[in-house]
């Protein structure tokens, strides 16, 4: 029976490279007996390389994506999220806050709202700038998280294991940026990044 590479890996690679030959090579190698693990390793190496190439070639677009992403994130957390808190206070005022007493998972609502906000911002960045810029924006958010964690470590008695755990948790919470971004940038044609004009002038 012919073996196929993981569909998700192929789709992910398709997001970050327009080179069908590379995807074809992966398909060929997996059919010859390479493992799914090998395939994922290849994709994990190719995605950052492809994204970095796009970012270097289109630094203006990358800069715009960062500005748009951070402005949207700022607007969302400065205006939209406080409205949610107001709703929370309104629940108290109306006495409906008792709902929390019989619904222990009410904290999850905050995480869902936060995740949806990140996903929407990621979607907007991806929709207008392409998948590589989503990765750049995601990395910039993680970099800020990491710097805040380092500052926190400097003032408290954290160790490096706590830092790794903290960055891991932050990455998991920010994951909706990637999901929303890739959804926004999903391929509408078979030409990968071409609809963002990222492959102009590329042989």
């Amino acid at each position: 029976m012919k073996r196929h590479p993981p569909r998700m890996a192929v789709r992910l690679l398709g997001h970050f490279t327009s080179d069908e030959a590379l995807v074809g090579d992966l398909v060929e190698e997996v059919a010859r007996g390479r493992s799914a693990c090998w395939c994922w390793r290849q994709v994990a190496a190719a995605v950052p390389a492809g994204a970095w190439r796009d970012i270097c070639r289109h630094s203006g677009l990358a800069f715009r994506a960062l500005i748009v992403g951070w402005v949207l994130l700022g607007v969302a957390f400065a205006f939209a999220v406080p409205r949610f808190r107001e709703l929370d206070e309104w629940l108290f005022v109306t006495g409906l806050a008792d709902v929390r007493a019989w619904w222990p998972a009410h904290h999850a609502v905050w995480f869902v709202v936060s995740a949806l906000t990140f996903a929407k911002v990621g979607w907007a960045v991806g929709r207008f700038h392409g998948p590589s810029m989503v990765l750049l924006f995601f990395a910039s958010v993680l970099a800020l998280d990491a710097s805040r964690l380092v500052c926190l470590m400097a003032t408290t008695l954290w160790n490096s294991a706590d830092l790794v755990a903290g960055v891991g948790a932050a990455a998991a919470l920010r994951l909706p940026i990637l999901v929303g971004g890739l959804w926004g940038a999903r391929r509408r044609t078979g030409r990968g990044n071409d609809r963002f004009g990222l492959n102009e002038g590329v042989a």
Binding site: T17, E20, D25, V27, Q42, A46
Partner: protein, 110 residues
Amino acid sequence: MGRSSLSHFELLVLLALMRVGEDAYGVPICHEIEACTGREVALGGVYATLERLEARGLVSSSLGDPTPERGGRAKRYFRVTAKGLREVRAAQRSLVRLWQGLPELKGGAA
């Protein structure tokens, strides 16, 4: 003395490309590097290097026909250009000069 601007991996890719010959695309190039160096290389890394070399005019590429065993995707065949060959020769001359007269390397074993 001629100066070569090729990095170590670029030189590996160019040499593998020349060794494979006419039928050189991503997979055999990777296999050739793996067979000669004994270490695994990433296909994406090889393609990124080939793209960089192509932008510098050291290799040229052409698309083959889509094949069913590749899920209907075409192969991209690469060839070393005359300029690429000159760069490889220049790198070879530089390396041979550096190797010559080193007592530590006499006898061929490191």
